[in-house]
């Protein structure tokens, strides 16, 4: 006796959250069944393995049919074939677009192209995430990227509107899109200690302050591309380190203000010029695409690592950066106060986030 056909169709589509999770994680039906068996569900419900197999198959088939709709979530809301309560629809979408930290760290900042897709095999082996799940996550990134890439208006709003994601997840996707578009390097060994959350935090600050959207909210690509003019202008900051008097004055202002307040004052005093040069040179280099990509590598090399090697506590870093940015206002010979604030305001936030072990 073999089962040729075995289906269950409810007027309200049944969604089993556990099975959905297994499906999203890319397990085959048989793997999913054995995982469910291990979860002790048979003992709880008194069901047999055959029942579980049939149930799992059925859910997988439903998810497979739903997948087409999940690619364009508003369709899921308007379609008539599956009657699903709104709360469940939201759950289906949110979970479908959720991603693994390990996976996103591998892909973040890479071009979302066929080439990268071919590397998914390696990523799968490296992260232990099934290839199927890697593909889904990659395709999600790519799909969101394609849709919002050339849209007007706020990136987060666009993502939310077209993919009906929660605010949190939409922000994450905005970061992914932003990174993919600007191709920031995140894979270097010295950046491994950083989490996706660190990058997403920086991305948000950069979107808010460094993109076209920060000055004009009616441009296409406004949140995706950095403001080229702004990057050009950043060259002007170079005088802060090139002009020796200005640099000395800046140093003395900072040192005076922080004396007695920093545990690592002497180290700061000794390193001031190096750190300042580092930070200003990063700004000055941003006209080149190559250097934009290396932004995070540079920040870590030029600032995070020197401070860390001197064991600066986070609070000292904060005090230093605050004073460092603020003191520029007292430099009479320096005219680019607004530019400095736009640059340093964001950078200060990023550096504080990046400064950890």
């Amino acid at each position: 006796m073999t089962s040729e056909l075995d289906i269950f169709v409810g007027n309200t589509t049944l969604i089993d959250e556990d099975v959905y999770r297994l499906w999203l994680d890319g397990y085959s039906v048989s793997d999913a069944v054995s995982l469910r068996v291990r979860s002790g569900i048979l003992e709880q419900t008194g069901a047999t393995a055959a029942v579980l197999q049939s149930d799992t198959m059925d859910h997988y088939r439903t998810f497979h049919m739903l997948e087409r709709l999940l690619h364009a979530p508003p369709k899921l809301l308007h379609q008539l074939i599956f009657q699903i309560p709104p709360s469940r629809q939201a759950l289906l979408i949110e979970r479908y677009y959720a991603f693994d930290e390990a996976f996103v760290r591998e892909v973040l900042g890479k071009k979302l192209s066929k080439g990268t897709k071919k590397d998914l095999d390696d990523i799968s082996t490296k992260t232990g995430i099934t290839l199927k799940s890697c593909r889904r996550q990659f395709d999600n990134f790519k799909r969101v990227f394609k849709v919002v890439e050339e849209m007007r208006g706020s990136l987060v709003d666009n993502i939310q509107q077209h993919f009906l994601l929660s605010d949190r997840l939409a922000r994450d996707y905005a970061a992914i899109v932003f990174f993919a578009n600007n191709r920031f390097e995140t894979g270097k060994k010295k950046l491994q200690y950083l989490s996706f959350g660190d990058f997403a935090f920086c991305a948000e600050l950069m979107i808010q302050n460094w993109t076209l959207g920060a000055v004009d909210s009616q441009v296409a690509d406004m949140d995706v591309d950095l403001d080229k003019e702004f990057l050009q202008d950043l060259k002007e900051l170079k005088m802060l380190v090139a002009d020796k008097d200005l640099l000395d004055l800046h140093k003395s202002l900072v040192c005076t203000a922080l004396r007695g307040k920093l545990g690592v004052f002497s180290e700061m005093e000794a390193n001031f010029k190096n750190l300042s040069r580092g930070l200003v040179n990063v700004a000055a280099k941003l006209t080149h695409n190559k250097d934009v990509r290396d932004l995070f590598v540079d920040l870590v090399e030029k600032f995070v690592e020197p401070c860390r090697s001197d064991h600066w506590p986070l609070n000292d870093v904060r005090l230093f950066l605050n004073q460092y940015s603020a003191s520029v206002h007292s430099l009479d010979g320096f005219r680019h106060q607004a530019l400095w604030d736009r640059y340093m305001g964001t950078l200060r936030g990023c550096l504080l986030r990046l400064y950890h072990d």
Binding site: M1, T2, S3, E4, L5, D6, I7, F8, V9, G10, N11, T12, T13, L14, T45, G46, A47, T48, A50, V51, L52, S54, D55, M57, D58, R61, T62, H64, M65, K75, L77, H78, Q79, L80, I81, F82, Q83, P85, P86, S87, Q89
Partner: protein, 1025 residues
């Protein structure tokens, strides 16, 4: 031109890409009705076209309006080649033809293609302007309402239940016409869909005409079926119960009808002009009676004694004058009808007087080509023959009517088994005649009996029983005789007293049969049928005993014929009726008493069986109160099995054999294990696993013993097909496979729905088909309803008190409204007949005991006050929680697609149905030539059923409804050819589209529209004239 149909095509969305080059579509729409076609403009390059067309107007006869569906075709415009069809929408405009139903059809419909399934949606608005038609000889029957619901629809009141209507139309099946060889599968499927739609429209119109002839205005329990006879043609047939319905003014108003007798008096003769001689004799004394005393009231019913002389007189001599009287009244009412059948399964209180038992008839026929579609006489004659048989079986049981009546067929190649079954019953004549008692159905009209047991009392003559049976005095009233077991095809009457809970009981059986041709095949099948019936019956009986129960409701026996086997599947809901005696256990006896180990085995089995019975009693909370024997004075006799199933089968109608299913003199409780077969039987008895805790199941509308439903419902369809290994198939192996298939299916359902616990699967409907040699297909449709567990515990704890309460409250109803009762002058009265008739025939002792009963009841009535308050408190809590649950759920307004509930039941728990919008009757074909790509057979059928649900929901929503009740999937014919990568499936579904309002919202609604309440009482009259 009695009608103008207006159609507007608004927009489309989610259309498929038809032009690969641009990834877009140039869509336009053709709107066709009858022979007229209109087209919209082409909307270029869009997947979401906005046509916003003008109103397309069709001027048509109302006959066509009833027969023809509106056909909307969406196409892709192509300048150089033929336009490609995207898909179609068929809209049945029938709901727009009754005054009370929908006024407009407007909404998004899925665009359906028989090869690709649903391909986007289209927004359509449809309206109908009907002109008054003065032609009396018209062919249309606009205005007759149709209901699939097999009880009086919730917001209506039955004025008269006229009786059985049936009709049948035949045609050639387009799939088998010569032209099918040269046309595409799509064209062939569409021809078939269209033909069936036309045929069912025609059928409905013809049935409507019959109803109008009977002076009714509605068909209740309408069941339409298709017989795909292959080469020999296509038959569409329907049965139903004609009624005159009156819309209730407001859902809350149940009693007011009785408060205005004067109005009723004046109106009734006008609305229903006397058509039968008997009517006036009922009417005149009743309506002129001004006094309102019990005695006087009884006296007015005396004139009805006139009938004693008129009836056949053969039946009911011993039943007492009253019974005879009642029977004759009923008889005279029913004799005017060819077939006194009712497709209803639930009735107004007092309608069902006695139940005789299940009657069924089957007949094996050889199909031949239908030569002339306009003369469907052969098929008509076949059914007439079977109905005649049913009628005579009912007569043999001392009954004049058959309720819960249904018909079905099973076809394999050229052999067809026609089956009909129902429950023989004695009905209260008041409901069957014109004008006798208007309204007042709510009033209890028992004879001399306390509540809840009257229907169990035997209708046949005790001394002249149609079959050997064992009778005892009713355990409830102690006055009338009852059988030891009762089988019926109807739902449990609402006033029946049940102990504990019910459960789904199934008998499953397979029999191998040699492959044969034509007559030889038909003969082989006819020979097997009696054995199958016998075994199915034995299985049911044994399983019922094993559950410790004594009655079956909703019994449905399906016999399916295949190439090389016959399958029997019987489903029913077992209950313990308080009025019937406690069932005995099951004894096992061996045939070889000398063998010691065998003896041991037997006793082991016996112990297992006894344990199971005990366990089941606990599980279903069956603990009948101990009754001391002295009260009745008659010893409870040893129960013996007795069959209430009369059946016969005939081949080509020339031979009618009757089978006595009562096992002769053998005690049915003894199972003799004399061979392996019997052993298997016993084993199979014990393999049925009860549902996991928190789950109950039944195939009736609601589960006896559960009455605290919460609002969550989940309707589902599950289909399974298994392939049997063809090697050495034996009956046992086959039985085991089939049994496992059904059991596993149930287990899967329990598992899938575990999140709803505590819940009950209601209206579990199994259908078996044998699509190919080694394939068995089982289709199940049911609804899971949640209930409040705490409440359930409370009620069970106090179930004895409750039954007392029930008796007292019922009694209270009688006492509380004596004046209304009398002023309405019922022909028979609750109390007096007992006293009056007892003088004639009863012994003094009997009379005393009945007095004692009466005094007891009165005593309970006095106590009722305190009890009643506790009842209301109990009832209040689950409702409150239900509401809370509703509100905590996210509001539907968030979703762009309105939720449409579907249920096979006639009601929606926690809600009131405020409007019936019309019948939904849809037929779809889906075919694929890329089976593997669509996920194999499971993927294909899963998607198709989901699409069917979607189309039903879309139609209901477009009618302005939010639910389908009495939903049924009548057919699901699935054929596959995996080698060719092809599959085809036909599905036919029906139900009633309704608007429901949550009980929590109801109060607001009713206060908002006080004006709407005044009109409905007159609408019924308008329609009938």
């Amino acid at each position: 031109m009695p009608g103008k149909l207006k159609v507007k095509i608004v927009a489309g969305r989610h259309l498929p890409v038809m032009d690969r080059a641009s990834d877009l579509t140039d869509a336009f729409v053709e709107v066709k009705f009858g022979n007229t076609t209109f087209k919209t403009d082409v909307y270029l390059k869009s997947l979401n076209p906005q046509w916003n067309s003008e109103w397309f107007k069709f001027e048509v006869d109302d006959e066509d309006l009833q027969d023809e569906p509106l056909q909307i075709t969406v196409l892709d415009h192509d300048t150089y080649s033929a336009n490609d069809a995207i898909g179609k929408v068929y809209i049945d405009i029938d709901p727009l033809l009754y005054s009370e139903a929908a006024t407009v059809i407007s909404g998004w419909f899925p665009i359906y293609d028989t090869i690709h399934g649903i391909r986007g949606e289209i927004n359509v608005v449809v309206k109908v302007d009907l002109f008054n038609d003065l032609n009396r000889f018209r062919q249309s029957s606009c205005g007759v309402k149709f209901f699939c619901t097999t009880s009086i629809p919730k917001c209506y009141r039955a004025v008269i239940i006229h009786g059985f209507v049936e009709e049948l139309v035949v045609n050639e099946d387009p799939e088998y016409q010569w032209i099918d060889r040269i046309r595409t599968p799509r064209a062939s499927n569409e021809a078939r869909q269209r033909l069936i739609s036309l045929m069912s429209g025609e059928l409905q119109r013809k049935i409507g005409l019959k109803v109008l002839e009977m002076r009714g205005n509605a068909v209740v329990g309408y069941l339409q079926c298709f017989d795909l006879e292959g080469e020999s043609g296509l038959v569409v047939r329907a049965i139903g119960t004609a009624c005159t319905l009156d819309k209730l003014s407001s859902p809350a108003a149940f009693l007011p009808a009785c408060n205005s007798p004067s109005k009723e008096m004046k109106e009734s003769p006008l609305v229903h002009p006397p058509s039968h001689g008997c009517r006036s004799t009922h009417n005149s004394p009743i309506h002129t009676a001004t006094g309102s005393r019990l005695t006087q009231n009884f006296s007015v019913s005396v004139p009805t004694l006139i009938y004693t002389g008129m009836g056949s007189g053969s039946a009911g001599k011993e039943g007492g004058p009253f019974k005879a009287l009642l029977r004759q009244q009923t008889q005279s009412a029913l004799e005017q009808r060819e077939f006194p059948f009712f497709t209803l399964t639930a009735f107004p209180p007092g309608f069902l007087v006695h139940v005789g038992g299940v009657v069924s008839a089957r007949s094996v026929k050889l199909l031949d080509r239908i030569h002339n579609p306009d003369e469907p006489e052969t098929r008509d004659a076949w059914w007439a023959e079977i109905r005649q048989e049913i009628k005579s079986h009912a007569k043999a049981l001392g009954c004049h009517a058959v309720v819960g009546y249904s018909e079905s067929t099973s076809i394999c190649e050229e052999v067809c088994i026609l089956s009909a079954s129902g429950t023989a019953a004695v009905l209260n004549p008041r409901f069957l005649q014109d004008g006798t008692v208007e309204g007042c159905l709510e009033q209890r009209l028992e004879e001399n009996l306390p509540v809840g047991c009257g229907f169990c009392h035997i209708p046949y003559d005790e001394l002249n029983m149609p079959f050997p049976a064992h009778l005892t005095y009713c355990y409830n009233c102690r006055k009338q005789k009852v059988p030891d077991v009762l089988f019926t095809t109807v739902d449990l009457p609402t006033d029946a007293t049940v102990i504990g809970k019910g459960c789904l009981i199934q008998a499953r059986l397979c029999r191998l049969k040699k492959k044969a041709q034509a007559e030889a095949n038909a003969t082989a099948i006819s020979n097997l049928l009696p054995f199958m019936e016998y075994e199915v019956h034995t299985q049911l009986m044994n399983k019922l005993k094993l559950k410790g129960m004594n009655a079956l409701f909703g019994l449905r026996i399906q016999i399916t014929v295949g190439e090389n086997m016959l399958m029997g599947l019987a489903s029913a809901t077992g209950v313990y009726l308080a009025a019937l005696p406690t069932p005995g256990g099951i004894q096992i006896a061996g045939k070889t008493p000398n063998d010691g180990s065998y003896e041991q085995h037997i006793s082991h089995m016996q112990k297992k069986i006894n344990d199971t019975i005990a366990k089941n009693k606990e599980l279903y909370e069956i603990n009948p109160p101990e009754i001391s024997e002295e009260i009745i004075g008659s010893p409870i006799p040893e129960p013996r099995q007795r069959s209430r199933l009369l059946r016969s089968q005939s081949e080509s109608s020339d031979e009618v054999t009757e089978l006595d299913l009562s096992h002769g003199k053998k005690d049915a409780f003894v199972l003799e294990i004399d061979d392996t077969d019997a052993m298997e039987d016993v084993h199979s008895l014990l393999t049925d696993v009860p549902p996991p805790s928190g789950f109950y199941s039944c195939n009736t509308e609601i589960m006896p013993g559960i009455n605290n439903w919460t609002s969550e419902i989940q309707m589902f369809t599950s289909v399974r097909v298994i392939r049997l290994s063809s090697l050495n198939l034996t009956n046992q192996a086959l039985n085991k496979n089939f049994n496992d298939l059904c059991e596993n299916l149930l287990k899967s359902l329990y598992f899938k729905l575990r999140s709803m616990i505590p819940c009950c699967l209601c209206h579990v409907n199994f259908t078996v088909s044998l699509p190919e040699d080694e394939l068995i297909q089982v289709t199940v449709t049911a609804v899971a309803i949640t209930f409040d567990k705490n409440q359930a515990l409370q009620t069970t704890k106090t179930h004895v008190e409750k039954s007392l309460q029930r008796a007292s409250t019922d009694n209270e109803e009688l006492l509380q409204f004596p004046l209304e009762l009398c002023s309405d002058s019922l022909p028979s009265h609750p109390f007096p007949p007992a006293k009056a008739t007892s003088v004639d025939y009863s012994s003094f002792a009997d009379r005393c005991s009945s007095w004692i009963e009466l005094i007891k009841l009165k005593a309970q009535t006095i106590r009722r006050g305190s009890i009643k308050t506790t009842v209301t408190v109990e009832k209040a809590s689950p409702m409150g929680e239900g509401n809370f649950r509703n509100r905590s759920a996210p509001p539907c307004a968030n979703s762009t697609v309105g939720v449409v509930k579907m249920t096979p039941l006639s009601f929606i728990p926690g809600a009131k149905i405020t409007k019936y919008l019309g019948i939904i009757n849809m037929f779809f074909i889906r075919e694929t030539t890329s089976l593997r790509e669509e996920g194999g057979v499971s993927g294909f059928l899963h998607a198709f059923i989901a699409e069917v649900f979607a189309m039903v929901r879309a139609h209901v929503a477009a009618l302005g409804g939010n639910a389908v009740v009495s939903y049924i999937m009548k057919q699901c014919v699935f054929m596959e050819n995996p080698n060719k990568n092809q599959a085809q499936c036909l599905i036919n579904v029906s139900g009633d589209a309704v608007v429901f309002v949550r009980e929590s919202e109801l109060e607001v609604v009713s206060t908002q529209q006080p004006t709407a309440n005044c009109q409905p009482s007159c609408t019924g009259g308008e329609v009938t004239t």
